[in-house]
Symmetry: C2
Subunit: 90 residues, 2 copies
């Protein structure tokens, strides 16, 4: 294998990331947020909808900067499914 396909864990983490960003955006315009972060509105929409599982570090950093989010907190949130519902393979 050369470029491993996304694992289900990757996909789920991407969905949590998207949901988090959408919540944090609140009632702000998606268009304005994307332009402020200097990313394409399509890219922001795909990330928010969970269709981009592993976006670039710089992309997330730019969006988080616009939304006033801490990258450390974002990572902590999405890497452990909140609610402490750890359903890993035992």
């Amino acid at each position: 294998m050369v470029r491993l396909p996304l694992t289900p864990a990757d996909v789920e983490r991407g969905q949590r990331l998207g949901a988090l960003l959408r919540r944090a955006r609140g009632d702000r315009s998606m268009l304005e947020t994307a332009l402020d972060a200097r990313v394409s509105p399509e890219t922001l929409r795909k990330i928010e909808s969970g269709r981009v599982a592993t976006p670039a570090f710089s992309t997330i950093a730019a969006i988080a900067g616009v939304l006033g989010l801490s990258l450390d907190e974002v990572w902590a949130e999405i890497s452990r499914p909140e609610g402490a519902r750890d359903r890993l393979v035992s």
Copy 2:
């Protein structure tokens, strides 16, 4: 255009990111660090040598986690070239 090529600014930021990670790794083994972060040793080497300009958020988060780095501080360091006054490891 469809997928914009990397800008010189992207490349330079990638190089700063790599240099920062390498300094933070200190005398730790590159192999051990990569395995702990669950990334390929080649990937870590490419990021440290600045040959991967825009790595994935999850990749950097995993490496930073192993090295005990704050993602917010990493981003702050590499996104402003002027403040390149890194006196972490001398």
